[in-house]
Amino acid sequence: MAEEKDLRKAKEAWEQGTLAKVTARFPERKAEFTTLSGMPVERLYTPLDTAELDYERDLGFPGQYPYTRGVQPTMYRGRLWTMRQYAGFGTAEESNERYKYLLEQGQTGLSVAFDLPTQIGYDSDHPLAQGEVGKVGVAIDSLADMETLFAGIPLDKVSTSMTINAPAAVLLAMYIAVAEKQGVPSRKLSGTIQNDILKEYAARGTYIFPPKPSMRLITDIFAYCSQNLPEWNTISISGYHIREAGCTAVQEVAFTLANGIAYVEAAIRAGLNVDSFAPRLSFFFNAQMDLLEEVAKFRAARRLWARIMKERFGAKDPRSMMLRFHTQTAGCALTAQQPDNNIIRVTIQALAAVLGGTQSLHTNSRDEALSLPTEESVRIALRTQQIIAYESGVTNTIDPLAGSYAVESMTNRIEKEAQAYLERIDKLGGAVAAIEQGFIQREIQESAYAYQRAVESGERIVVGVNKFQVENEQPPEIHKVDPEVERRQCAKLNELRANRDNGKVSQVLAELREAAKGDDNLMPYILESVRAYATLGEICGVLREVFGEYQPAVIF
């Protein structure tokens, strides 16, 4: 290691000479520099910081273990990421129009946002649904709505991602049933359901059932899809919302992979072979403002997951070791002040996702700190991706920041610190236990509060919010959800209940109830219920009766 010794000496000489002379006259702006997550950042990274790195062991080649440089051998030279804007509001008719618009604009996949009653398994006429119908997404009560949602969109030609968790099995069943009506066999369907209940308990809040039956529903989906929907991503293990709730980059990696480990363990316990389901696991991360930290985060997550799958679970199929992920830019980084500035923020975040090797991307719209986005704002957000894809040049070579002393050093550090968290979570009994004990929630809240204090003290600058403000801003035009949506949706629901074969509905729901009490795979029963036009609220109601509801501990 003579070279290393020489370099160390040279660096010391630089520090004491050239550098010291300058800092004596012009001190640096701050005593300490940190990433957005508070990770210390050195003035300069050199080969000394990556001396431990073994190229073949730690980086390797794209499409090869440990996948640090990307999951595909050609990455964006072969195919660009899927541009997938999360959208949905009002009724199925309105959302269907928006999807067709987005596809016309060059979007390459769909991403369905459901309203909160749908996400929590209530029909639109449930008392708790009042005021929420069609607000944060589209209202889906039955297969009839789902048929409208995808009318004129050939399901064998698009891939569809659905942000649905507790009732994921029901919405997936509806999707399969719509495809049947279009004459598309389930084997040809490609897309993703989020289906990640653990982060709902920890950060996002749309849980219904307690952990045990929730994990059963998830592993039932894994098993069903491995037989019937081979191209379907059965889960999107999501750090996105955990990061939105305020955690750091390291925590995002750690808590997401800890949840991933819990799902793999549950499926293995349910008797599945790891390589039968693990290739269809997918991930979902946030892209925040700190470009280098984010790129390092994506790379670290890929390497760490590959190692976990190979070493801890003995996966043999390389696809089981590949961390494929969707990215969304950080909603919490959007400011209500000077909203056009958000276009620039989203550009930086999207660039981080692309430099980090994402498989699909949603870019937020500039006005989302104010309301749902307008069509014009959504178009700018999509154009941002297209400019990165077609004009920036970063897609021409794979993993272009690899070998950067700074990025490799941060990648190592994030992996190591996330690994330490995983060991702590294992000691607590795994992710489910860590959530039940409130460990994950407390860690997130500590980080969120620390960030808020840093912004309020001015230690962290948010342009337009605590510096460079303007007085008397004119509020921009925003998207409004028609207040009549709720009434219209309830009317449709009443009509459905009056016109379907209610004897058949009672029968399929009774069969579902019996199956839920036993341990059959529930997917075929849910599919039968959906085909008979049982509503989402009725199906989830039966499961609520049998499974009970999750009662969270309130922690702050």
Binding site: L128, A129, T335, Y449, E456, P475, F556
Partner: protein
């Protein structure tokens, strides 16, 4: 000694975004107030019931799902029915500018939108709390 200001931080409706509610709850507590947080998915009835039971001076409602026009006025209406209008009711979340006058008219004392420092809420409460 004067008793500390008591605040109920509440999440009405089905919205699960509680980062802001929790950060604010913590900041109010650090500012010397006694804070109760309801947790998610509370009905206006449950919120008013908790506020009366806990004898709070302030209710902070947080909603990011767009259901504020339905949920916030329901809380103030129920407080009126229970003759508890002296409780200061504040709202926060993703609330469009144009909805604010209606909420104020319905008895919400102030509406705080994204980017508001917690110190602004603390100052507002100290200045306006009725007791």
């Amino acid at each position: 000694m004067e008793r500390p200001i008591r605040v109920l931080v509440a999440k009405p409706g089905l919205d699960g975004h509680d980062r802001g509610a929790k950060v604010l709850a913590r900041a109010l507590r650090d500012a010397g107030m006694e804070v109760i947080y309801t947790g998610l998915r509370q009905t206006p009835e449950q919120i008013v019931e908790a506020a009366l039971q806990e004898d709070v001076d302030v209710i902070g409602l947080s909603c990011l799902s767009g259901a504020h026009n339905h949920l916030f006025p329901r809380v103030t209406q129920l407080l009126k029915e229970k003759q508890a209008e002296d409780i200061l009711v504040l709202g926060g979340g993703i609330i469009p500018e144009e909805d604010i006058p209606g909420l104020l008219a319905a008895g919400i004392s102030a509406v705080f939108t994204p980017g508001t420092p917690t110190s602004a809420v603390i100052d507002y409460i100290k200045e306006h709390v009725k007791r």
